[in-house]
């Protein structure tokens, strides 16, 4: 120990100094950040209201939602309060507008006070603004009036003016209503058009383009709907028609347009005789070509007329051009060598000159002593026609002159072949040769078929008892085909050949239908596995007889004809035309012509179940035209 007093004094002073410093120099935060931000300036605002006719006082005519937005100010509305006569009502802020509803049916008649308070963000960015304690307070009030007194109108008139349906009425000073324009177009109610501006006293109907329309102008307010005026008009917008021009091309034409054609369109869909959908502006007049209809088809055109933007008020127009027959409707036809056409109807037989399609002559069944329509059978060279008369006689005649009648009595056959127990007997004609042979079928308690020599009046061949399938005889009378089997998959026929005065079997062929070619050297057979299968067509050379008559001929050519063109468009019939050497294959929608030599399709003619012969197409409803 030896601290001197001096040193002790210094030690004490240092201790006091350190202690003082120690007490004074603890860190204390003292810096501040003061923002130069200034307080926002006061603002004045106006409003954008969803009802363009809004006024103060506001006449409330129906439950209404009002939306108030700040005009030229995109500051956010933070909150709002709406009061009706001092009582707060529901409101919501949506897309920076305040929306609330007023319902006159829940308010008393008379005046009501609406007070609106909007708290709007100042966007100053100050401390108070960021904490939501600073905003603009915007107040606005207006009066709502419920007035159930309807307005009075002194006049109303309506009619077509400048091609538009226009309605005019006397004005009114009242504003406690809205106008409703009501329309019914062909019984279909259209949406009401609302006019909120009560100063308006004139309405131009934009969508009316013709037809029947019922209209009504109504003043609608709280507790009333007053009819200002009403009426009905019906106008044809233009003269529309379809007709054939000088070249025979059908055309759709219009003229004398009555309505204002501004923005009016004609719409023709492709369900009509046009290639594609068509939209044509309506002009005072115009025309368009249409597709040529198939033979015998009527022309129908359906189109819509409408003004753009008002398709619901379209006028549907239907035009019709019937097909005009150029020959008699027929049940049977035959084209003869001299460009003549024979038609058989229910009552008569007609003959036409095909050069100009002019009726030359007619022969009634009554003149032949026949009391109903019968089928006529022609010889292959078309020089003679035969028809079954009454009783046991068939009649032959010259189809080119409707004369040279011959009568052929076969009653003796009936007496010979009729069964004792049979109550009745009858004959039917099959086919004829050019040499005076005919195939007949007979029923007299049992069936027989036969070859009958017309000249000699004798039966040259008789089938076994019970056979009712009539033979098909060749044009030269040398052969006939006799179908023997009727099982669908296995139909066959025997070929008979005349040797001396008798017919003998020389072979068999397949098929269910048969025809001889014009020079009688071939047989064409047609067969199907089932009604739903395609048609097999085979060609047999008659001169290539099998060595054994019980054997089949061998076919030289073969072609399959489709049973359908698809979509239930089925095969109706197939005929052989000796004039053109075509097979005429008739479907529901088209006629196809196949060259019988090359077995190639050469033409396809659209049309419904068309017949064909000698380059003419026909329809039984009474139409004929040359193939183009």
């Amino acid at each position: 120990m030896g601290i001197r007093l001096k040193e002790l004094g210094v030690l004490l002073i240092c201790t006091l100094i350190i202690g003082l410093l120690f007490h004074q120099c603890t860190f204390e935060p003292h810096h501040e950040f003061i923002s130069p931000r200034k307080a926002p300036e006061p603002i004045s605002v106006s409003f954008i209201i969803n009802d363009p006719t809004f006024n103060d006082p506001y006449y409330l005519v129906a439950p209404t939602r009002l939306i108030f937005k700040l005009k030229d100010l995109n500051n956010t509305i933070i909150s709002s309060e709406i009061t009706l006569n001092g009582r707060s009502i529901d409101s919501e802020i949506y897309r920076n507008g305040v929306e609330f509803g007023l319902n006159p049916h829940l308010m008393a008649i008379g005046s009501h006070s609406i007070s609106m308070t909007f708290n709007v963000d100042t966007k100053s960015g100050s401390l108070a603004n960021r904490l939501g304690a600073e905003y603009y307070v915007i107040k606005q009030t207006f009066t709502v009036i419920i007035d159930p007194t309807p307005p009075v109108f002194n006049s109303f008139e309506a009619g077509m003016e400048n091609g538009y349906l226009q309605m005019k009425w006397s004005g009114t000073d009242k504003t406690n209503f809205v106008y409703k324009i009501k329309r019914t177009h062909y019984g279909r109610s259209l949406s009401d058009t609302l006019i909120q501006d009560t100063r308006i006293n004139h309405y131009i109907e934009p969508g009316y383009v013709g037809g029947e329309i019922h209209y009504q102008v109504v003043a609608s307010g709280v507790g009333f709907e007053s009819v200002v005026g009403s009426g009905t008009i019906e106008h044809t917008p233009a003269d529309f028609q379809i007709a054939k021009n000088d070249e025979g091309v059908p055309q759709f034409m219009w003229s004398n347009t009555y309505i204002n054609p501004e923005k009016v369109q004609i719409y023709i869909s492709d369900n009509n005789p046009v290639k594609n959908d068509l939209r044509i502006p309506l002009s005072p007049s115009g025309s368009i070509d249409l597709d040529v209809p198939t033979l015998g088809n009527d022309m129908r055109l359906y189109f819509d007329l409408y003004r753009t933007g008002y398709f619901s008020q379209r006028l549907q127009v239907h035009l019709y051009l019937p097909a005009i027959p150029n020959i008699k409707p027929f049940v049977q036809f035959e084209i003869l060598n001299e460009n003549k056409l024979i038609l058989v109807t229910d009552e008569k037989i007609y003959r036409y000159n095909l050069k100009d399609i002019i009726l030359e002559d007619s022969l009634s069944f009554a003149e032949l002593g026949i009391n109903s329509s019968r089928q006529i059978v022609f010889t292959p060279d078309k020089s003679k026609a035969y028809i079954w008369g009454n009783s046991f006689t068939f009649i032959g005649f010259d189809p080119l002159a409707f004369d040279k009648f011959t009568y052929h009595d076969v009653e003796f056959i009936s007496k010979e072949l009729t069964e004792p127990s049979a109550r009745w007997s009858s004959f039917s004609l099959g086919s004829f040769s050019n040499t005076g042979l005919a195939s007949l079928s007979f029923f007299g308690g049992v069936y027989y078929t036969m070859i009958f020599d017309i000249e000699k009046g004798i039966i040259t061949w008789l089938s076994p008892k019970g056979d009712g399938i009539v033979p098909i005889i060749s044009g030269d009378g040398k052969y006939f085909i006799k179908k023997i089997a009727s099982i669908f998959e296995d139909e066959k026929a025997k070929i008979f050949k005349r040797e001396n005065e008798t017919f003998n079997i020389i072979g068999e062929i397949e098929g269910s239908d048969y025809i001889f070619n014009p020079d009688n050297t071939k047989i064409i057979s047609f067969s199907k596995i089932s009604p739903y299968h395609d048609l097999n067509t085979k060609f047999y050379n008659l001169l290539e007889e099998p060595q054994d008559p019980s054997n089949s001929y061998i076919f030289s050519k073969y072609v399959t004809i489709p049973n359908s063109l698809g979509n239930s468009d089925g095969l109706r019939r197939i005929t052989y035309d000796p004039y053109t050497n075509y097979f005429a294959i008739t479907y529901d929608s088209a006629l196809k012509l196949m060259n019988a030599s090359t077995l190639k399709y050469e033409k396809s003619i659209p049309g419904f179940r068309l017949d064909f012969s000698n380059n003419y197409i026909l329809r039984p409803s009474g139409f004929i035209e040359a193939v183009k």
């Binding site: 120990m1 030896g2 601290i3 040193e7 002790l8 210094v10 030690l11 004490l12 240092c14 201790t15 350190i18 202690g19 410093l21 120690f22 007490h23 120099c25 603890t26 860190f27 204390e28 935060p29 810096h31 501040e32 950040f33 003061i34 923002s35 931000r37 200034k38 307080a39 960015g125 100050s126 401390l127 108070a128 603004n129 960021r130 904490l131 304690a133 600073e134």
Partner: protein, 229 residues
């Protein structure tokens, strides 16, 4: 309270224990403070607030005050006791025409413990020593927030404290003039940090999931003046 204990205790020790080969020193210095956790807390508050605070104080370097008493245990080495006081703080502040908002974080620490120093250059005029100080450091933090808009004020404050353990390796150069001793020291403060808590229960977590602590780690520069006893 600690100030009232420390000053007389220091005087008493030096008066009773002083010997001619012993040293009593008073030190002042400057320290830098890491305070990562406190800065993170400050940033979290800034991010979560709608207020455009500005960071006006970010736990700056601040003077330290302390002293030591050393006993020579060999011609080259001394052993002793040392103590030190330090403080720093952070502030977020914003003020405009409509009001002001502030977040203050003020931290104070008092540490005491043993030291050892060893002469490394055998100089008698300008001896240089390698020093190692260790201590227990007690930290107090006061967190205060205040928002005033118009006439309305909202305040909140928390008093937290924690205990850290420190180690400070460094160097010291000394010069004796008659009985007076002058020293210049430099060192690095390393600490183990305890969680700052209020009433032993409430503590804060920063957005990285860690508990709020006081990180006094950093550089220390001290200047001491004293006596050979």
């Amino acid at each position: 309270m600690k100030k009232l204990i420390f000053i007389p205790l220091l005087f008493l020790i030096t008066s009773v224990m002083a010997q001619e080969s012993n040293t009593l020193l008073f030190r002042v210095g400057i320290g830098t403070y890491s305070m990562k956790s406190q800065k993170k807390f400050q940033q979290d508050y800034l991010r979560s607030s709608k207020i455009p605070f500005v960071n006006v104080h970010n736990f700056p370097a601040f003077p330290t005050f302390g002293g030591s008493f050393g006993i020579r245990i060999s011609p080259s080495a001394s052993l002793g006791l040392w103590a030190e006081y330090a403080s720093t703080g952070g502030r977020l502040h914003y003020k405009d025409y409509s009001g002001h908002a502030v977040l203050d974080q003020v931290l104070k620490t008092f540490q005491i413990g043993p030291f050892i120093q060893y002469n490394i250059n055998n100089s008698t005029t300008w001896p240089v020593y390698l020093t190692l100080h260790s201590s227990v450091a007690n930290t107090n933090e006061n967190i205060r927030s205040e928002i005033k808009v118009g006439n309305q004020t909202v305040k909140e404050s928390y008093k937290l404290n924690s205990l850290n353990y420190t180690l400070r390796p460094g160097f010291m150069m000394s010069r004796q003039v008659s009985a007076m001793v002058f020293q210049l020291g430099i060192g690095t403060e390393l600490q183990l940090h305890g969680t700052l808590k209020e009433n032993k229960d409430l503590y804060f977590k920063t957005s990285d999931g860690k508990e709020l602590v006081a990180q006094w780690d950093g550089l220390r520069l001290t200047f001491g003046i004293g006596f050979k006893l």
